[in-house]
């Protein structure tokens, strides 16, 4: 075993020395940095969307518009509430206060003096019993007769666009990670070929002495592994530092950094695996590049 390890770490080729000027760690650091940011943001977004969706999916909102023909608002509200409370599967139906509604509108209307005098629609917050489903078409028809113009919103539009957003973010993150992996592989392949040409004489000597291609490729792969892992670790650390700074800034002073992004243990493991993935890609790429190039030598 010790024997085997010594074999793996063998460095007949002065790769390490010549690779002090290697661009591999730098490039891998930047790539892992980007991949980490992309992945964390996508996972955060997906997580938030999931939680938001869970919160929305058991609720409905009923809107009773501003009276058109002078009909008393309060009466319409009472009738709608009655209909709702009689519908099986609905656990609760609470009208929102006028102040609450004005608060919701404020970002759009601004705080201006005339706001109190403006006629406002009325909103009812409806919670369904857990697991219950409600026939929205039938409910809508009954509400229409009770209070004409009433509008039932099951947040489907929101839910759909949330899901679309989350899927888009995850897709983008996956795309970025794939691109990053491809770029890392390309950089390592390029560096390996350059290394082979720089160390051509030594490689040639090893061949003449009876070394198999594997013996030589192992050294290039080992070097690539170390360089890429170092770079990847640096990139990960930088990304985590930036994210922690963002989380810290976002939650001021009373936050533990990562939970602010709402990552699960699995998410964190995924992100932490990025330098390992980079090292694995680099190792395999260097190995393959070397084996292919050596096969073309005598």
């Amino acid at each position: 075993m010790r024997q085997r390890l010594a074999g793996l770490a063998r460095r007949d080729l002065a790769l390490a020395r010549s690779d002090r000027r290697s661009y591999v760690p730098g490039i891998v650091a930047v790539l892992v940095f980007l991949a980490t940011l992309a992945l964390v943001l996508a996972l955060t977004l997906a997580g938030a969307a999931g939680r938001f969706q869970a919160g929305l999916s058991g609720t409905l909102t009923v809107e009773i518009p501003v009276p058109a023909g002078g009909q008393a608002g309060e009466a319409r509200l009472a009738r709608a509430l009655e209909v709702l409370r009689q519908t099986p599967g609905i656990a609760a139906a609470d009208p929102l206060s006028r102040e609450h509604i004005a608060g919701l509108l404020e970002p759009w209307l601004g705080k201006f003096a005339g706001l109190e005098d403006l006629p406002l629609p009325q909103l009812i917050d409806v919670r369904l019993a857990p697991g219950a489903t409600v026939d929205l078409a039938a409910l809508g028809a009954r509400l229409e007769t009770a209070a004409p113009g009433t509008n039932v919103d099951d947040h489907r539009r929101w839910l759909v666009s949330l899901q679309r957003l989350a899927r888009l973010a995850v897709g983008l993150a996956v795309l970025i990670v794939v691109l990053v992996a491809a770029a890392a592989a390309a950089a390592v392949a390029f560096a390996t070929r350059a290394g082979l040409s720089v160390h051509h004489d030594a490689v040639d000597l090893l061949h003449l002495i009876g070394a198999e291609d594997r013996y030589i490729a192992r050294q290039f792969a080992h070097e690539a592994l170390i360089l890429a892992f170092k770079g990847g670790l640096a990139g990960l650390v930088a990304a985590v530092a930036i994210l922690a700074a963002i989380a810290f800034a976002a939650t001021r002073l009373d936050a533990v950094p990562l939970p602010a992004f709402g990552l699960t243990g699995g998410d964190i493991a995924l992100v932490a695996a990025l330098p390992l993935a980079a090292a694995a890609i680099a190792t395999v790429t260097a190995w393959r590049t070397t084996m292919r190039a050596l096969a073309r030598m005598v």
Partner: protein
């Protein structure tokens, strides 16, 4: 052991450096390879250590026809050949010890056996005090001796030495010749390319002489 049949070699579009060379060396034989500078001695050796393929002709080596050999078979074949390169080709960043140990390690020898063996040989060639010296800190003759030690450490079946005494004094040259003869006695076929006419004259081994791309054989003192 070694057979050339109408072998020719040219570099690129240049003239033939070797032309129509045919000869056969018996297993366990000992030959000098001589010729003027630029005659093609190193080129001929490079055919033997499988660094180059001939432009034409057939080479048989260790009972293998080199024309039909596959790439994957080369390492095993090369491990049975020891080479002292004219320009040494030591790896600069490895110590004398690691340079000499290289063929053993490449062949997967066990580390505990490697060390003792290498130290013994280096001591024998007079480098017991320079085991851990990098080539850059060795004198010319010391480098040459490291190169020789690397070539013989595996007790190869075929030993090719290109000007192995160009950088050492006559006393060491004779000592190294004894080393080669010792190996030869144990069964190794030896070919030594050299300008050292004194060395050739002092020994009784036959001489292969390269001239104008042709090879002629000269026996000496009644030896084969």
């Amino acid at each position: 052991m070694v057979r050339f049949e109408n072998v020719g070699l040219r570099y690129g579009l240049g003239p033939e450096v070797l032309r129509d060379i045919s000869f056969e060396l018996a297993a366990g034989s000992f030959h000098f390879l001589t010729g003027l500078s630029g005659a093609g001695k190193s080129s001929l050796l490079s055919l033997l250590y499988l660094s180059r393929r001939p432009s034409r002709g057939l080479i048989t080596l260790l009972d293998r026809d080199l024309a039909t050999i596959r790439r994957t078979e080369l390492p095993a074949l090369r491990r049975r050949i020891g080479v002292v390169f004219q320009d040494f080709r030591l790896l600069d960043h490895l110590s004398a010890l690691d340079n000499v140990a290289l063929p053993l390690r490449v062949a997967g020898a066990r580390e505990d056996q490697v060390r003792a063996h290498v130290i013994e040989l280096l001591t024998w060639v007079g480098l017991g005090d320079h085991l851990h010296a990098k080539p850059a800190t060795l004198s010319g003759g010391q480098k040459q001796r490291v190169a020789i030690a690397r070539a013989v450490i595996t007790r190869p079946r075929l030993l090719l030495a290109d000007e192995p005494t160009g950088n050492v004094d006559d006393k060491i040259a004779v000592r190294l010749l004894h080393l080669f003869e010792e190996l030869n006695r144990m069964g190794t076929t030896v070919i030594i390319a050299t300008h050292n006419t004194g060395l050739v004259a002092r020994s009784h081994h036959p001489e292969l002489r390269l001239e104008g791309g042709d090879l002629t054989r000269h026996a000496r003192r009644g030896a084969a």
